[in-house]
Amino acid sequence: MWQDFVNAVSGLIQESGFANMTPLHLLMIVIACVFLYLAIAKEYEPLLLVPISFGMLAANLPLGELMHPHLWDANPIDYGAILQQGGLFDLLYLGVKLGIYPPLIFLGIGVMTDFGPLISNPKSLLLGAAAQFGIFGTYLGAMALGKFTEKQAASIAIIGGADGPTAIWLTTKLAPELLGPIALAAYSYMALVPVIQPPIMKALTTKKEREIVMEQLRPVSKTEKILFPIVVTILTVLIIPSAAPLIAMLMLGNLFRESGVVGRLSETAENALINIITIFLGLTVGATASADKLSQPGFGLQALLIIVLGLIAFSVGTAAGVLFGKIMNWFSGGKVNPLIGSAGVSAVPMAARVSQKVGQEANPENFLLMHAMGPNVAGVIGSAIAAGVLLYMVG
């Protein structure tokens, strides 16, 4: 009887997660807890970082069977096996792997975005393009390091687009094995925009330039706003078909908003739908950062390099935007404040707020927010196009 009791207890202990815990599991759990702390106590992008870090935590608890990385590492992927043997996170991850969640998030972003400042001053699209230098500059850097394949370098470079869903979308297509670190780097740097950007903006501009007060934007009619998503979709998708999922859904969302006749759809897309997708996306992206991955040779170094390259991508994008803003300022005869260029890196609306804040520090009567929103939303379109180009060229 006593022996049976001991056997039962020892069997339970051996089959528990504790007995199967490795140092790598423990390390991942600690990392997940650090991210949870940053999300909850420091409020760094909590809407995304809480599900991402909790996904990482739950997936790294041994024997939980929520996620099976080996099923996703198979080449080609056996979707039948995933449906039969997969855990909860495996099934939810299908939406990431099949490229469904990021475009749906773009639908919600489209509803929330006012392209009015961009339509009012279309030249700000050029600032949105300039900030994408960060993407291509980092691609060059990643390739020069020689530690990454072409596809991995392209996925890392897209962090410079400062657009989480775009980064996830491109990475699942090109280098899904790096999804965890790339998503974490992208969202962490987006949260750090107010810390990363101001020193670069101040270093590249004079006080006189930062003080420039821009002319008020002209009012935009409703017809112009309704036509905008239709024109952008037709033109962009015809030229770069690979960017269609992101651009089409972004513009559909915006058409919902501007048409004013589908209030219920707009409301669903910008609230319930985007929140549901954010939960699924965050949880499963976090779950891909598993201890098994960390044990693969060279992965730790790659993850570290991704963090460094992501920061470079962000900084180069900011610098390129500001420098192009200076060029536009010279050409316009001193009418463009170069600070709005940094908002071209996307990260809506945080980057535009940073332009406003830095501008107001130089001149308290300066209101750059609406001027910066033009390049800011142009950056969303720019990074989606850049992702489409990279997918076409590298994929």
Partner: protein, 120 residues
């Protein structure tokens, strides 16, 4: 660094600039067409109804002047009217603003102030 990498970077940036420049032209062209069309419509409306205002007008009270009202207060009141009427607010004219006397019982006013103070 090989030529293919440089080629990807070059093509990527060129395509990005070409697409966005085309977008700029498209936006400018359709904005110009729309503004021309709406101007023509406004002109024809004016010709058809010479005595009628083309723009939306809201007169709070036609007997007042703006003495004692700061430009900020006028801007706030105009913005509030534009917001409550919906639309872009383009063409809205506030011709006069007049302070009207209390028509609410004093107890209601006191209750309202107390309620507002609890929310501050």
């Amino acid at each position: 660094m090989d030529l293919r990498t440089l080629n990807i970077v070059l093509v990527g940036m060129v395509v990005l600039y070409v697409v966005l420049t085309l977008l700029i032209f498209c936006i400018k062209i359709y904005s110009a067409i729309i503004s021309k069309f709406s101007n023509r419509k406004n002109n024809s409306d004016n010709n058809g109804n010479p005595g009628k205002e083309v723009v939306e007008t809201t007169s709070v009270n036609s007997n007042s002047t703006n003495h004692g009202l700061s430009p900020e207060l006028i801007a706030v009141i105009t913005a509030a009217i534009a917001a409550s009427m919906g639309g872009s607010g383009t063409g809205l004219k506030v011709r006069s603003i007049k302070r009207i006397g209390h028509t609410t019982p004093i107890w209601n006013v006191a209750g309202r102030s107390e309620y507002i103070l609890t929310r501050l």
